[in-house]
Structure formats: C-alpha cells, structure tokens
C-alpha cells in the first residue's frame, strides 16, 4: 500500500467537516476519496466518527472490518492490519471507526502521530469528521493540513458552518474551503433556496465545489458504490471535479441545471412534457 509513493514526498491530510450532522460529510468523503483514487492517487480514508461508524457502509466495505481506528492508536494491531482495501480501486483504503467506543478513546496527539505516519504512505489522507464541535471534531482536525467544510444551502447548516470556520481559524489552520452540497437549481431559480453566491458571501471562504441535489446519491449509497464512479451521475461529476481541484487541476464549475433551459420550461408551462427533459434516473441499469 502506497509503495508507489516517491521517496521523500509527503502526502496531504484533509479533514472534511461541517458542524451540523446530516449535510453529507460521509458521502463527500467517500466520493472525493474514490475520485482521487480513480485519478491514480493513493488515498486512505479515516472514519473519525467513533461510536457512529458509517463510512464503511457508504463504501460497501462493512463486512470486511476486523480492526479499527482505536485498535490502531492503542497498538492492538499494526496500522496496515486496520486498513481495508476498496473492492473497486486498489489504491483506496479505509480505516474504520470503532463502533463501541467513546470519542475520548482517541486523543488529538494520537491523531497527529497517525497522520504523520499516513502522509509517508499515501498521497491523500481524508478524515471524515463527526458532527459537532467537541473532542471528535478536535481529533479530526489535529493532524490536518487543510479543512473542507460541507454545508447545505439552508440556515441551520450555514450557521454551524460559520462556527466551524471560526474554530478552524482559531486553531491556526489555513482558512477552510467550502463545498455547498445538495443545491436544488429549480428551488434557487424560484427564490426558495439560497444560491451558492448567497452562501459563499455569508461564509466568505473560498469555494471548492458545488454538488447538486441528485437521487443517484441515494441509489449509489443504497448499493455501497460511490456515485463518483458512475459517469452518469451529476453529483458524481461534481465530486470528481472537486477531486481534480484538490489534485491541483483547474476545473471550471459545472452548470447546475439539467440541459433544461427556457425552451423546456416554456413547453412545460403549457403542459407539454418532453420525454428528453425527464431525467432518467434510478432505472435498473447504471
């Protein structure tokens, strides 16, 4: 694992966090990780949500867990014994969270030490932070180089994201980057959802990605296959774009709307539904 890393180059540690729960941190971690791995980079994902393990099931690796993060830091097993290799991508690994322990089972210093070890083996270490601003969050940013804040265009998650931005800046890390997840372009157009511009203006941190609300996330999570590996998924494409930006490439922000401009809206408003305008999703094949 990570044998292909060039001698002397160190990988980056990136923490994905949000403050509020349920905004899509775990999905974001799984998808960016899968997308970076499919770009040929070596990646390890750490589920830092001790007690509420989830990254394993989102990746479809829940049946392969023997050791976990707490076993690693306590020395019950060697680091590589706790790394689960992904089914599809042989340069993607997961260190799962312990399910029956407390957040206090790991200290910030232990996370730092672990991150220093992992950056010698992997191009990217992505840490899926738990919700909240307590020890689990502090553990997850302890060894990080960069922090990515995930938010939804909705008042409570933006407020919590602002709190996280303050805490990250207070801990002398670089200004975090923003992902606006689950944006619904139709609601934004109607004036019933804050736009990406509204959210970035309020939080005033750099934007690294915009992910549209997309039912392929539901179906891919059901199957345990990251949407980033599905070429048809719009959210998957958004996650691939984020991965490329993290990988240092310039990628323009994709249009949020389906190919569904004024012409189709006109047809719809007079009762004509063009079959091509219907998103074909959730079918048997994908």
């Amino acid at each position: 694992m990570g044998e292909d890393r060039q001698q002397g180059t160190l990988g980056r540690i990136i923490t994905i966090t949000s403050g509020k729960g349920g905004v899509g941190k775990t999905t974001t971690t799984a998808n960016i990780g899968a997308a970076l791995a499919s770009l040929g980079r070596s990646v390890v994902l750490i589920d830092a949500d001790i007690g509420l393990r989830n990254l394993d099931i989102v990746l479809g690796l829940e049946n392969r867990i023997v050791y976990d993060l707490v076993d690693v830091v306590e020395g019950t097993c060697r680091l590589r014994q706790a790394m689960i290799r992904d089914k599809r991508l042989n340069n993607l690994y997961l260190i799962p969270a312990a399910q029956t322990r407390e957040k206090e089972a790991v200290s910030p210093q232990q996370m730092k030490t672990l991150c220093e070890e992992l950056r010698r083996q992997f191009d990217f270490t992505l840490i899926d932070s738990p919700a909240g601003i307590e020890q689990g969050f502090r553990n997850s940013i302890a060894g990080a180089d960069d922090v990515v804040v995930v938010t939804n265009p909705e008042v409570s998650s933006v407020r919590d994201a602002d709190r996280i931005v303050g805490l990250v800046e207070a801990s002398e890390l670089a200004t975090p980057k923003l992902i606006v997840n689950r944006i619904d372009p139709a609601l934004v157009r109607r004036g019933d959802m804050m736009s990406v511009d509204d959210v970035t203006e309020i939080l005033s941190i750099p934007l690294i990605g915009v992910v549209p609300s997309d039912e392929t996330i539901v179906t891919s999570t059901n199957r345990g296959e990251p949407a980033a590996l599905d070429p048809e998924s719009r959210a998957g494409r958004a996650f691939r774009n984020i991965a490329q930006r993290i990988n240092g490439e310039e990628v323009p922000f994709m249009p949020l709307e389906e190919p569904d401009g004024a012409w189709r809206r006109l047809l719809r408003s007079i009762g004509i539904r063009s079959s091509k305008g219907e998103p074909v999703r959730g079918g048997g094949t994908s």
Binding site: E154, V155, R159, R189, R190, G191, D192, D198, S269
Partner: protein, 92 residues
Amino acid sequence: MGFFDTLMGRSASRRNPSSASMAKQRLVEVLVQDHVKITPEVMEAIRSDILKILSRHLDVDADQLQINLTRTDRGDNLVANVPVRRGAGSRH
C-alpha cells in the same frame, strides 16, 4: 404574468420577499450576533439607553426604534434607526 414568470423561471409572486432572501437576511443577523456575542438583555439595555439619551434632545418614537446588527464588507455594524416625530428639534 404567471406564464411569463414561469418562462423566466421566476416565482409567481414577487410581492413578498422570497424565502431565500429571508433566509439570507436572518442568517446574516444571527451570525453577527454569534460573532459579536450580544445577549438579548444587553441589546435591550442598549435600546433603552439610546432612547433615554436621544429623548433629552429629540421627540423620538420609542415604538418605532429599530436596532440591528448588520454585516458589511468592512465588518459588523450596529445600526439604530430612530424615527423622529414631526416638530422635533424645536423644543429648546
């Protein structure tokens, strides 16, 4: 109007502020409070002090006094909107 607005992708009703702009406005206000950490009690004290001082010189409408914390690119501002009753300033 409904047809044209649908075509242009606008909401049918422009009379009320959109829920998105309400969300943004409410967020900006609450975040300034989160940052400045003024409790409702302190806010009330500021309000009554402003009224007390201005009332010495002006006939102000206490019910209409509005105090808001707002955010601008130059930082957080406390903005007080004090409606003055007609004939104010001629009390000396």
